[in-house]
């Protein structure tokens, strides 16, 4: 069986600066896979390479065996991979409802149609409502997304990411900047929405990572130094030296 996402010798350079230096990784179908590493290790760049936001300098990205290197983000999204952003990336002047609905439309096959009344698309309406209930924002549906609280915007960000029904979800620091209570709420939400899907998550909060992940990859200076189950990662000598040691300093 093919891996959900497979990276082969992926490299990314900006000018002379090498950010990703030969990353190879298999993410299994249906697992929750965390990517951890110190600041500046290249975690977000890795996500940008997988989701098509950046082109790799070398190497390739495969989605269930298909080489998707060089495809545009929307082409990758249509193949069932969806991502969220570290810095909240929503449609600020559109209502919460509209934000989620925009993310539902393509998956329901309506494409660029300009001859159908969007308010009468029952499947779109139902799916949008379902997502809003999942992220606990049904009561906020008519509010412009830009005026939501930070934690609500992060929840909406996740809602937009999962709304299209992608079976591979990439979440970039979904709990960053949240209070403890908000983070716990977010983790419960992530656990719920990633049920039966493949999840790749970048996260700084080790409590969240070890609680949520089936496997963990440790990225240090553009290279993966270990990929394993949480308990084994914790015990890994190299990881303790390179990452946990470094994390103690920042």
């Amino acid at each position: 069986m093919n891996a959900a996402v497979e990276l082969k010798q992926l490299e990314k350079r900006f000018g002379k600066t090498e950010i990703i230096r030969g990353v190879s990784l298999d993410v299994r179908q249906g697992e929750r896979h965390a990517v951890i590493g110190p600041n500046g290790a290249g975690k977000s760049t890795l996500f940008n390479l997988i989701s098509g936001r950046l082109l790799p300098s070398a190497g390739s990205v495969h989605l269930r065996g298909e080489n998707i290197t060089g495809l545009r983000p929307f082409e990758i999204n249509r193949r069932g991979l969806s991502r969220s952003f570290q810095v909240t990336n929503i449609f600020p002047r559109l209502s919460v409802w509209e934000n989620v609905r925009c993310a539902v439309l393509w998956s329901k096959g309506y494409k660029y149609s300009f001859w159908r009344n969007v308010d009468r698309l029952e499947d779109v309406r139902a799916r949008t409502q379902e997502i809003l209930e999942q992220i606990n924002m049904a009561s906020r549906a008519q509010i412009p997304a830009g005026v939501l609280t930070y934690a609500e915007q992060r929840a909406l960000e996740i809602g937009i990411t999962i709304a299209g029904g992608a079976d591979i979800i990439l979440l970039d620091e979904p709990t960053a900047g949240m209070s403890r209570g908000e983070a716990e709420h977010a983790v419960a939400l992530i656990r719920k929405v990633s049920e039966g899907r493949t999840l790749i998550i970048i996260e700084h909060d080790m409590g969240v990572v070890f609680n949520l992940a089936d496997r963990i990859s440790v990225l240090v200076y553009g290279q993966i130094i270990a990929t394993d189950e949480p308990a084994k990662i914790k015990a890994n000598q190299k990881v303790q030296e390179a990452y946990l040691g470094a994390a103690g300093h920042d």
Partner: protein, 442 residues
């Protein structure tokens, strides 16, 4: 759920009927208004103005498919309007010459297809990029088309343009569209049709994604849509409706001129959309009506009306960036609670406005008088001292005397300070209205 609907078919039917009337009521009302307007304003000048308004409404709304709906600032929307006008004029001439049986009411279809064709052609280039790049490309394309209008004389007809006799086409149920009133109804019908279609498009998946592209084109890519293609379709459709408008313009004055594709025409539609307000669908309609009215009426009062027009535009951008429709919507929030209370609340607010309006008008009159006198002295010294203020002989002003200058200056400065003095009153009235609205809701 299904049980209740089954048990109350009659009630469901009635509420369905109410919903239908609610949905289509505004269009039926609009049609009725368009129908009776010539009876309310029967003069020839009024009919002519209303024809121009109808054309401008279509044009400004098509422009807003770009600016307000999709976030594309175009400096060259007249290209699609103008080219459609020329193709329309040529089509009419060709049909007349060869006896092709096309009635005039169908000619705007040709204009629309022309606009669509050039929208697809130029849009495939310009919509690859958003933001500043798009604006620059639109400007470049507009210059390109305008300069070719000076080169391709056989198509654009040089300085005279291409004239076309609309009355020589196949008659449409006996109408030959010679009288302007017949053209009015032709324009009104097309205007209503285009407004309905353009509104409907905003309520489609494409229309919603246009808004999303306007807000955040990058995020759109990560929900499966290609923002460039969204822009491209919006641009092509905007070209189509601009084409219908241009076609009606050519029919209206039986002439297509190079100025139709020019920068001034592109600027006019930007002004109309912006003054009306691009954030709301009705904005450009209001803007088109006001801008057309001003451009027709202001010249009756001043030679330098374009100057005042510019001042109005700058004032709107500075103090009311959401335009007329934005101002209306700001007040719409006060329209809640018991009816009498609404009226009283809005009455108090407008009372405060009236207090502020008096010094504002004095300030305005002083300023305008000064500008007109400067213009008279500088440009028309040969005509002597006397100037007809606002082109009214009974408002003759001696520009050589000191009194008008001193008086105008006092009115301008004194009016300004008196106006500023009224601001706290207006602010208080506003806050009171807001508080009263909130109280009546809770």
């Amino acid at each position: 759920m299904s049980d209740t609907t089954k048990s109350m078919p009659a009630a469901a039917g009635a509420s369905d009927m109410v919903a239908r009337i609610k949905r289509y009521g505004v269009w039926i009302a609009a049609a009725a208004v368009l129908l009776v307007l010539p009876y309310i304003f029967p003069s020839g000048a009024a009919i002519t103005t209303m024809c121009l308004m109808g054309i401008m409404i279509i044009f400004a709304l098509s422009y807003n498919m770009l600016l307000g709906q999709s976030g594309m600032l175009s400096f060259g929307h007249a290209v699609y309007y103008g080219l459609a006008a020329f193709v329309t004029a040529h089509t009419i001439n060709w049909a007349v010459k060869n006896g092709v049986p096309i009635p005039l009411p169908l000619i705007p279809v040709v204009g629309g297809l022309t606009g669509l064709f050039f929208g697809i052609l130029f849009g495939s280039v310009s919509t690859r990029r958003g933001g500043t790049a798009f604006a620059m490309i639109s400007l470049g394309l507009a210059e390109l088309v305008y300069s070719s209008s000076l080169i391709l004389r056989s198509f654009f007809g040089g300085e005279e343009g291409i004239s076309a006799d609309r009355t020589k086409l196949l008659r449409f149920f006996g109408y030959n569209f010679g009288p302007q009133i017949q053209v009015y109804y032709l324009i009104a019908a097309w205007c209503l049709l285009c407004v309905i279609l353009m509104y409907a498009i905003t309520r489609t998946p494409l229309g919603r994604m246009c808004n999303a592209v306007r807000e955040n084109p990058e995020r759109v890519e990560f929900v499966g849509y290609n923002p460039q293609f969204v822009r491209f379709i919006a641009f092509s459709l905007a070209g189509l409706f601009a084409g219908v408008a241009g076609s009606l313009a050519a029919i209206n004055i039986e002439l297509a001129q190079a100025s139709f594709v020019g920068a001034a025409q592109s600027g006019a539609v930007l002004l109309a959309a912006y003054i009306g307000g691009v954030a709301f669908f009705v904005g450009p309609i209001l803007g088109a009506v006001l801008v057309t009215l001003l451009s027709v009426k202001l010249s009756d009062f001043s030679e330098i009306w374009v100057f005042y027009f510019g001042v109005l535009f700058v004032t709107m951008i500075l103090f009311a960036p959401y335009g007329l429709s934005g101002l209306l919507m700001m007040h719409a929030q006060f329209w809640s609670g018991p009816f009498g209370r609404r009226i009283a609340r809005i009455g108090r607010l407008f009372g405060a406005y009236l207090i502020a309006a008096i010094p504002a008008l004095i300030m305005l009159a002083g300023g305008i008088l000064l500008i007109e006198m400067i213009h008279h002295v500088a440009q028309k010294g040969a005509e002597g001292a006397n100037m007809h203020f606002l082109r009214r002989p009974y408002l003759t002003v001696n520009t050589y005397a000191a009194l008008p200058w001193v008086g105008a200056t006092i009115a301008l400065i004194g009016g300004f300070f008196a106006f500023r003095f009224t601001w706290p009153t207006v602010a208080k009235a506003w806050n009171d209205a807001l508080a009263d609205t909130q109280r009546s809701q809770s």
